[in-house]
Assembly symmetry: C2
Homo-oligomer: 330 residues x 2
């Protein structure tokens, strides 16, 4: 008599059905093994990053599962972009409440697949567990850079210029809007802010440019003010930012016009997934041109000086004082 | 005026205090950056694995925090061992309920540090979040093997011998014991089973030997019967195991003598974190000698044949039929 162990377990079936299509790298072995392997690109360092998102903390339970999957990937891809790294692939660890069924998983896996394709970042392996708590998606991202070239927070020097990509504050304002803020926005403005919260647009297109020209960089995930201060701390410098130069979308400007307190939310709220970096003045024109070449808008917002801290200067007064410069879970 | 963003956030303080001492690799940058880098060993593939443990699911909430940390690492180290890989380091993602305080974290980090040292496997980075649910610890493990040499589940051939390391069933029986089983065991036997559940003893000492001699291998985490069946499925072969040759500890033998149904628990319960592997007969003596050389007990339990499934043969009857050949969360 043969035991039934030659049949696939429910967990193995789930993996084969939903996640195997995302595991396109040959070293993932179709997720049929305990581990995956990867031959590192010649002359490269491996870059490692992990970030998790939790239902009810980082996203709403009712959010579309495919969008949740893409957010889980993109918050990690954004770090690779800021470090000048190219994605190689990822691992995912899923804790699923009992009420997560096959429809949710199918949509989640489709979202993973779409972004794994879009960012050339296949699934190398994963782990699925049932949990009595909220859903948690933990991604470990693996990238590469030419040896010794990972862009760090350390490296900014007095005299460097401070740049950010895209626009700042949209996601944080999108979250406030989603919670019920009644600003007089038009439909396009509402949609812009809400979508920036729902789905980050990481700047991986700029990774090579950052690696070539930036003296220091990080992604803006916990708020521009606090994140720039972190960069300054590790670089042992200070930064002075002209608030009027911080790029704001049309929608963010409308929200701030309706409620001036929203300026602080924009500068400290986080979830931007833009890049803040410092560039030596002699390289600034080349940096701008390279960014234009890959279609990523960049704005010069200030400069690096000696000292400590990041000061945000308004046109006609003292530096802004923030209640809380950046988001922290603790 | 300077905002307070030049001070460390609570999350950064927590990381600097508890986790920085575990991040001894220079590429971890003292956990002061967004990502870490690692120059891969020359001529090597990177091996990737992730596995998570959840409070109330994989361990008891009252378990010692340092032991929980070591379990989280070791369930992943065990996979590297079975794949013939050497640990390089790990990432950890932590979801912490509000009632987890500094004492728990200090003990947790000390456990991480102890095993990071013992297994030469430093912390490369992490992520900490608050959760309204149970504690979850997700580890992503990075290892290396000489290029093209990761040992797979596929590769077993009819005629190969089946080996397991150590003893089988102790952890599964330890869990039953912890839940209140009243077997007539002496104190040493009780302690043995309980400790095997609490803290895996992965066979990383055997990694090179497995890589040199095994045709296929995996770690036994979900039960010997089911895991061997998985190996057979991917290798497209069958296995026949003599139950009397499956190595059982003195404590497991006493538990099974008290309750014969515990034999099935031992063979299917999981959490062994031993290695099951197949070895061509011509290499079996060398495999045994190499295992002896690194102090890891190995036992020949059966052989690979054509067909499908893993059959567990008793001395005087038909193959055992298991209710459930291996543990599954789904």
């Amino acid at each position: 008599m043969t035991s039934d162990d030659d049949k696939l377990s429910a967990e193995d079936r789930l993996i084969a059905r939903f996640f195997k299509p995302v595991a396109t790298h040959p070293g993932a072995l179709g997720l049929s093994d305990d581990a995956a392997f990867l031959t590192p690109p010649k002359g490269c360092d491996i870059v490692l990053k992990t970030d998790a998102i939790i239902g009810g903390v980082h996203f709403f339970a009712e959010d579309d599962a495919g969008t949740v999957a893409r957010k889980a990937l993109r918050v990690n891809l954004s770090d690779l972009a800021a470090k000048g790294a190219t994605p190689l692939g990822f691992l995912v660890s899923l804790a699923l409440p009992k009420d997560i069924g096959e429809a949710w998983l199918a949509s989640f896996a489709e979202g993973l697949r779409a972004d794994a394709d879009a960012f050339s970042c296949p699934l190398f392996g994963g782990d699925t567990d049932r949990t009595p708590g909220p859903i948690m998606i933990s991604v470990a991202m693996i990238g590469s850079v030419p040896q010794g070239s990972m862009v760090r927070r350390a490296g900014a020097r007095a005299g460097d210029l401070v740049f950010v990509t895209g626009t700042i504050g949209d996601a944080a304002l999108g979250l406030v809007l989603r919670k019920g803020a009644a600003w007089p926005l038009n439909e396009a403005q509402r949609a812009h802010l809400l979508s920036r919260y729902l789905l980050p647009q990481p700047r991986n297109a700029l990774a090579d440019t950052v690696r070539t020209y930036a003296s220091a960089a990080m992604d803006v995930s916990d708020g521009l003010a606090g994140d720039l201060a972190k960069l300054c701390r590790v670089s042992q410098v200070a930064a002075e930012v002209e608030v009027k130069h911080v790029p704001l979308s049309d929608a963010a400007q409308a929200a701030i016009a309706a409620d001036p307190a929203m300026l602080e939310t924009a500068l400290t709220g986080g979830d931007d997934f833009e890049i803040v970096c410092t560039v030596p003045p002699a390289k600034a024109d080349s940096f701008r041109a390279a960014a234009r070449g890959v279609g990523v808008p960049v704005a010069e917002i200030g400069c690096v000086v000696t000292g400590a801290g990041a000061r945000f200067l308004s046109a006609d007064g003292p530096a802004l004082a923030f209640k809380r410069a950046s988001f922290s879970h603790f």
